[in-house]
């Protein structure tokens, strides 16, 4: 079992915090924590400062890392100011420090041979895909990317990221950028056009489920980073579970922080929030 062998807890300094569209791009000086991070891993950050009523960490997918630079190792996140915790974080000034645990969780699997990969991101779900794209390109793969969001401001796609992929497709629900509609509406076309072997995705659960439908229909692989609410991020609380089919066919409620966040899309029993799928290991006998 993967037990976050390389995870560290440390106080890290914010060395940059910039608004980009609806998000904040934040850079942290994290020392050698940066050495061990792989695309798909996440970090968990304490929010609210001393005396805060917020007792749980917040998880953020790692956007990218640099081993060395002006600040030693750095780690970057793309954070949406959403509720109290993320608003607190994105409001922090330069040089403020936060308590960070990472890198945590599973990472995207990289094929040993060059492939045609389609990377699909929803909202800030694009963040981990750029580092992944780089790795795939380094391995000789073709990388096409499609990013979707409700509106243009919620597409996170920095210029260098756009340049690094073979093609970039944008969809927005309101049509304020790219094609009007949801990412799934353009997937079938892209899969055919680019002869896609594998889909990598990150975004809201409903989007991942829809992508899996297409992956199943077209018979291609799908690795996705899921996002269940996490209380601990380190595997000790059992709040973050999704029903996952293991190699033997057994469905278990599996922790998305340790057995994920990156999972094989075909192994996840989708749309099961609010229920325990029949036949799950230990499910109540009805």
């Amino acid at each position: 079992m993967k037990i976050n062998r390389r995870a560290q807890q440390r106080t890290v300094e914010i060395v940059s915090n910039k608004r980009v569209g609806a998000y904040h791009h934040m850079i942290f000086a994290v020392g050698d924590m940066a050495l061990h991070a792989l695309p798909g891993n996440f970090v968990a950050i304490s929010v609210g400062g001393p005396g805060s009523a917020m007792v749980l960490r917040r998880a953020f997918a790692i956007y990218r890392t640099h081993d060395r630079g002006n600040y030693g190792g750095t780690l970057e996140l793309v954070v949406a100011p959403h509720g109290q915790g993320s608003k607190w974080l994105t409001a922090l000034p330069m040089h403020a420090t936060v308590d960070m645990v990472g890198p945590l969780g599973t990472s995207f699997g990289i094929p040993t041979e060059p492939v045609n990969a389609l990377l699909v991101g929803g909202g800030y779900g694009s963040a981990p895909l750029f580092g992944l794209a780089e790795l795939l390109k380094d391995g000789g793969s073709r990388v096409d990317m499609v990013l979707g969001a409700s509106s243009a401001g919620k597409i996170y796609a920095p210029l260098e990221g756009k340049r690094a992929v073979n093609s970039m497709t944008i969809t927005t629900d309101d049509g304020s950028a790219g094609t009007k509609g949801q990412v799934v509406s353009v997937l079938a076309g892209l899969i055919e056009r680019y002869d896609v072997d594998i889909i990598y995705s990150c975004g809201p659960m409903a989007m991942l489920a829809a992508i899996q439908d297409i992956a199943t229909q077209t018979g291609i692989m799908h690795q996705c980073a899921v996002e269940e609410a996490m209380a601990c991020g380190i595997g000790v609380c059992m709040t973050c579970v999704v029903p996952l089919r293991d190699e033997t066919g057994l469905v278990k409620m599996s922790r998305s922080c340790i057995d994920g966040p990156v999972m094989d899309g075909a192994s996840v029993l989708w749309n099961s929030s609010g229920k325990i799928p029949d036949g799950t290991f230990g499910a109540p006998n009805v």
Binding site: M1, I3, N4, R5, A7, Q9, S46, A53, M54, V55, L56, R57, D99, V101, E228, A229, A231, C232, I234, G235, V236, C237, M238, T239, C240, V241, V242, K252, M253, I258, S272, S273, G274, K275, I276, T280, F281, G282, A283, P284
Partner: protein
């Protein structure tokens, strides 16, 4: 700090629950330390008093549907629903790991019927390297319309009697009570009469959060257990009341402990040991932090022996 560390050598931090002795009184809380493996990534399990395992049941159990958690002011709700692999797999996988790691082990057990508790005790009786059993009676009793054992003095008593009978004097039994009762002292009285060696106080409070956007209960299981600093005053009160009534019965205290000062409140109220639960979610090293801070606070206050501090608020209150 310097000073405290120097004086540490003269400070006796050990505690005991009947014949089980622990080098220090800071434990994990049941259900808040995974299988032990996950925390071992952050510190050696030998550093803490004991690992209290998540409550194990006879059979494997999927637990409740998601969402399973909601953050609340200074606390959280959980509705894990006792997900676990069942006693067989637990004995085959989790216990060997903890034994190898050199951890002192307190196994928490939970059942749906009085018989379940008996079976679990039977399976655990001969297992080497266990320090004690924690008997979690905050579970619905399927034989009594799902009423939680801990809310019913008779049912609580029956569970403890069975476990006591099966174990003989082999392992100390620590019975974990729910604060969601009209009179916790009377429940304590029943389980002590039935043979409990110690009590664990408190389990979570029953709570609910409604998602104002979906306009329905946020948790898959609708209600959940409230834990974290929010409930600490309830834990202090329960421990104080029970220690007052039964000063000789050791108490394992828990409920919102995130620092040495928090733990000190429980110790002064009457806790011989302190479990750290929810705080570990916010800080993987919370158990160690509490251990170090509590020692320093006790030393600062002139205690040379942890046990002298247990229940101190009762003695100083009447001066």
């Amino acid at each position: 700090m310097e000073l405290s560390v120097r004086q540490m050598s003269n400070f006796n931090y050990s505690t005991s629950f009947q014949n089980a002795v622990f080098p220090n009184p800071i434990f994990t809380a049941s259900g808040c330390a995974g299988s032990g493996k996950e925390l071992a990534q952050f510190f050696p399990l030998t550093e803490i008093g004991a690992v209290v395992t998540k409550s194990i049941m006879v059979k494997a159990r999927s637990g409740r549907p998601t969402p399973r958690m909601a953050e609340t002011p200074s606390g959280m709700l959980n509705s894990i629903g006792l997900q676990g692999p069942g006693i067989d797999q637990f004995l085959a996988e989790d216990i060997p790991f903890l034994q190898k790691a050199g951890a002192r082990i307190i196994v928490s057990i939970a059942g749906e019927s009085v018989d379940d508790y008996g079976s679990l005790a039977r399976r655990l009786r001969g297992v080497p390297g266990l320090s004690a059993l924690e008997v979690n009676i905050s579970c619905p009793n399927v034989e009594n319309r799902g009423q939680v054992f801990a809310c019913d003095p008779i049912a609580s008593r029956s569970v403890v009697e069975v476990v006591r009978r099966v174990l003989g004097g082999e392992l100390p039994i620590i019975v974990k009570l729910s604060p969601d009762v009209t009179d916790i002292v009377s429940i304590a009285n029943e389980v002590i009469a039935a043979g409990a060696d110690g009590l664990a106080l408190i389990n979570t409070l029953l709570g609910m959060v409604i998602d104002i956007d979906t306009m329905r209960p946020k948790l898959g299981g609708k209600t959940g257990g409230l834990s974290g600093p929010a409930i600490r005053p309830v834990a202090v009160r329960a421990i104080y009341q029970v220690h007052q009534a039964f000063p000789k019965i050791p108490i394992l205290g828990m409920g919102g402990i995130a620092s040495g000062r928090d733990a000190l409140e429980l110790v002064f109220a009457g806790a011989s040991g302190v479990s750290v639960g929810t705080a570990t979610f916010g800080n993987p090293n919370a158990v160690l932090k509490v251990k170090d801070e509590l020692a320093n606070l006790l030393i600062e206050r002139g205690f040379t022996n942890f046990k002298e501090a247990v229940g101190f608020a009762h003695r100083s209150a009447d001066v």
